[in-house]
């Protein structure tokens, strides 16, 4: 019976994910919009030096201690 309700479709999982995102940005005083801008700026800067897969860029901040992680896939010369 419980298999019917995968956690993704229930409200608690949604609430948990929302809160995680919100609180991380509140703790460092950086709104989700600012994170988006930061992501764009990072792409813009790195692009000047290497070829990257822009769609694959992810940034996130982990807790305790807060660390900014950016994953920027770099394309090889022959792929580009």
């Amino acid at each position: 019976m419980r298999a019917f309700f995968s956690e993704k479709n229930r409200s608690a999982g949604y609430a948990r994910d929302r809160m995680k995102l919100l609180l991380v940005s509140e703790r460092i005083d950086c709104s989700p919009q600012m994170m988006k801008l930061l992501r764009n700026d990072l792409i813009h800067t790195v692009k000047k030096y290497v070829v990257i897969d822009e769609k694959g860029v992810t940034i996130q901040i982990t807790q305790e201690p807060p660390v900014l992680h950016a994953v920027i896939p770099v394309l090889k010369k022959r792929d580009a």
């Binding site: 419980r2 309700f5 608690a12 948990r16 807790q63």
Partner: protein, 262 residues
């Protein structure tokens, strides 16, 4: 060695006052000398939850102003001779007291009691500053709701910046049937979001309403919520009590079950 513990939450209505009354009563029942202090000036409430509202003569502001001696303002509980209430003032506002005055008051109370429990007002303004000023450690009360969790996170940040290192979380009003079907955040969910150590997880329990109506905390015979309050008391005293939660069983929610992370 005495301890001053502030019970706080940020958001109102999550169960701070009930928690103070229950933990205070529990510690006293275990032989400790306890005073519960209502620091919510202007919105007195701990007295009615404790059932002591008819015995108030002097209050916290009278003590701080020197209108009476500390001992004159302390009200002895009806059922536990080692449990006392220091009521809040109903006619003043929060600016009637300063953090320095609260530190002096809690230091005076330390000399008489094993545990000084401070019932903090909701919000993050001066009432909160006053309540936190004299505390050694903090219990943050939240419910598994987004609004309460967000405020709890704010409060934890403020407590940390005030230099309070020992912060433990109480998750209140859990409804196991909703957690089981994924419509309420679980204890683990809340702990993961807030990144703070648990000291108790309390079920949404009718007995708490009944005990509060009667003005007699911990008066229930078979209440899981009240049992968990007693466990919190033992954990405060340093005992290692395993955490239990409720699991679904034949449509009846029975005690025992999984132990979750500390």
């Amino acid at each position: 060695m005495s301890e001053v513990i502030v019970i706080t939450s940020g958001k109102g209505g999550v169960g701070k006052t009930t928690t103070v009354a229950n933990i205070g009563t529990g510690l006293a029942a275990m032989g400790k000398k306890v005073v519960v202090v209502d620091t919510d000036i202007g919105l007195r409430n701990l007295d009615v939850v404790m059932g002591l509202e008819n015995r108030i003569v002097y209050n916290l502001v009278d003590v701080i102003n020197g209108s009476c001696r500390l001992k004159q303002a302390l009200i002895r509980d009806r059922r536990h001779s080692e449990l006392y209430l220091l009521p809040s003032a109903q006619t003043k506002d929060k600016t009637a007291v300063s953090p320095e005055q609260m530190i002096k008051l809690t230091d005076d109370l330390r000399e008489e009691f094993d545990y000084v429990l401070l019932d903090c007002p909701a919000g993050i303004e001066q009432g909160f500053r006053n309540a936190v000023a004299g505390a050694d450690r903090a219990l943050v009360v939240t419910t598994p709701e987004v609004s309460a969790i967000r405020d709890a996170d704010r409060i934890i940040g403020l407590l940390e910046s005030d230099g309070i290192r020992d912060i433990r979380l109480i998750i209140n009003r859990l409804r196991p049937e909703m957690v089981a079907r994924g419509d309420m955040m679980s204890v683990d969910d809340v702990l993961e979001i807030l990144a703070v150590d648990l000291i108790g997880a309390i079920l949404d329990d009718e007995q708490i309403v009944i005990s509060t109506n009667q003005g007699e905390p911990l008066s229930g015979k078979k209440s899981q919520a009240e049992e968990e309050y007693r466990n919190i008391c033992r954990r405060l005293m340093g005992e290692d009590i395993p955490y239990v939660t409720v699991r679904r069983k034949n449509n009846i929610f029975q005690r025992f079950g999984s132990i979750f992370r500390k």
